[in-house]
Symmetry: C2
Subunit: 208 residues, 2 copies
């Protein structure tokens, strides 16, 4: 597992842009962290009112969910998924780069919001990071689909606040079936090993 | 899969309280949704500044992460995990009830932030909901541990904006090994089937 990536590896997940929706999502991500970080002694009544007021203002101007889904899925590449979405405050976000020989490499550091046991990422969050990286490896191999079976072996706890590396590769294909493998590392050690079956095909993008 | 739960089933995940940190987390959850729901035409510059200001204020008063971890994990039951945490804006939150014969039943409806493919929950988010429900089933059986192996079979897409039901049960134990199974349903159909191996033991709670 390399510590640094060559600067010229293509980024396969959304770049984070300076302003616009990415900046709003980044601020919301900071706020999520701040709500969790706030001490037990703090009175959150006023803060809660101000957060609610912001949400009210945005929702009052928002299009219907149906219209918004059409916007979100308009070409080019979607930027809002729950793992890598620069526009999605729930996404840490994970970033994934294309590497040589069909490998992809992902990078993420998980803050407090992704906790399961004390100081440790929730096993389901590791599953989310791994599943997504496997999917990106399939895109990189230009033969992708939907997860049909995912097998995760948890070898060591995945620490929060620590740079994590994920590696994945499509290892085979047979008709519509796609076989993909990946590993999540922390501090140079294997934490989670995964193998998955994907089946070719995606759900259609909503259109007007 | 029952449509309604008997009113007297014990709730095994945190109750949501009216004010305090739960209300702040609920507001932050609404804001996350609102940022994703905002139309492409909207100028988010002012909103971004106000969200950042709120985060700045909270973080300026916040204890260190080490101190905060001690607070979060102080007895009684923790309320901040990434799946069910009433205090965690990243958690949808999932709620889980104890049922007869060792079964537990979970309920969740996933908004836009948990999207993978169009209108469909991210496969990794289904994994998070399932993994957590299996863990709660182990707590309910009074024999719990950490996920060692998780096998997920994805049968049908998991829709957003739709009440989902999860069912899980501990099916066996052998020494420190625990075997647990579960299913995620939507609209009365099986969407994800899971089986897992857990190993007894938890990471210690941080103390001063």
């Amino acid at each position: 597992v390399t510590e640094t990536l060559p600067a010229d590896l293509p980024r396969l997940t959304p770049d984070t842009q300076e302003g616009g929706r990415d900046a709003a999502a980044a601020a919301a991500r900071r706020l999520v962290d701040a709500v969790l970080r706030a001490g037990d002694a703090e009175d959150l009544t006023q803060v809660t009112r101000r957060i609610d007021a912001l949400a009210d203002e945005l929702l009052a101007e928002a299009p219907s969910v149906e219209e918004r889904l059409v916007e979100m899925w308009a070409p080019p590449r979607p930027r809002h998924d729950a793992a890598t979405g620069a526009e999605n405050p729930v996404a840490p976000p994970l970033t994934v780069y294309g590497d040589a020989d069909g490998w992809v490499e992902g990078r993420v550091t998980l803050p407090l919001a992704y906790q399961g046991q004390p100081g440790i990422a929730h096993g389901g969050i590791s599953a989310l990071m791994v599943d997504h990286t496997l999917g990106v490896a399939n895109n990189w191999a230009k033969n992708s689909g939907s997860t049909a079976r995912l097998v995760l072996n948890y070898r060591k706890p995945v620490p929060l606040f620590t740079p994590l590396t994920l590696r994945a590769k499509q290892v085979g294909a047979e008709g519509r079936k796609i076989f993909t493998e990946g590993t999540l590392y922390a501090n140079g050690e294997v934490c989670v090993e995964a193998e998955a079956l994907f089946v070719q095909g995606h759900f259609p993008r909503p259109a007007r």
